[in-house]
Symmetry: C2
Subunit: 78 residues, 2 copies
Amino acid sequence: MTKKGELSIKQRFGLAIKQRRGELGISQEELAFKSGLHRTYISDIERGTRNPSLENIEKLAKALEISISTLFANYGIE
Amino acid sequence: MTKKGELSIKQRFGLAIKQRRGELGISQEELAFKSGLHRTYISDIERGTRNPSLENIEKLAKALEISISTLFANYGIE
């Protein structure tokens, strides 16, 4: 089992997005709609295979009703 | 004079990078060397014309000896 420390930032970011989305009880489709991003992009993000831009990070955070700093500090990204 | 609220996240991120770099008293060249990014990229970032990826944000934060969450929370990005 990969320890969190060995995960890339893309993987840690994906896990954080998935965790926060779960807390809000919304689907990938709903997050895609709210953020204005494509559903397959959301799926790739959560699997840690995408390297999102600052603007897409902002869109995701807004859709997840959380600040970027809180997302990074409280969801295991850092 | 543009009020901070009207600035894009790219512009706010650029101002934060410039401010933090100034606090450390290092040049754009030194930040480029420390982060492994190109000097002109650093210059573009500070002018708010680049939309950096998550991995480049991580490189910049590490080179600036600050966590991403602190950079976003304490330097006017959010």
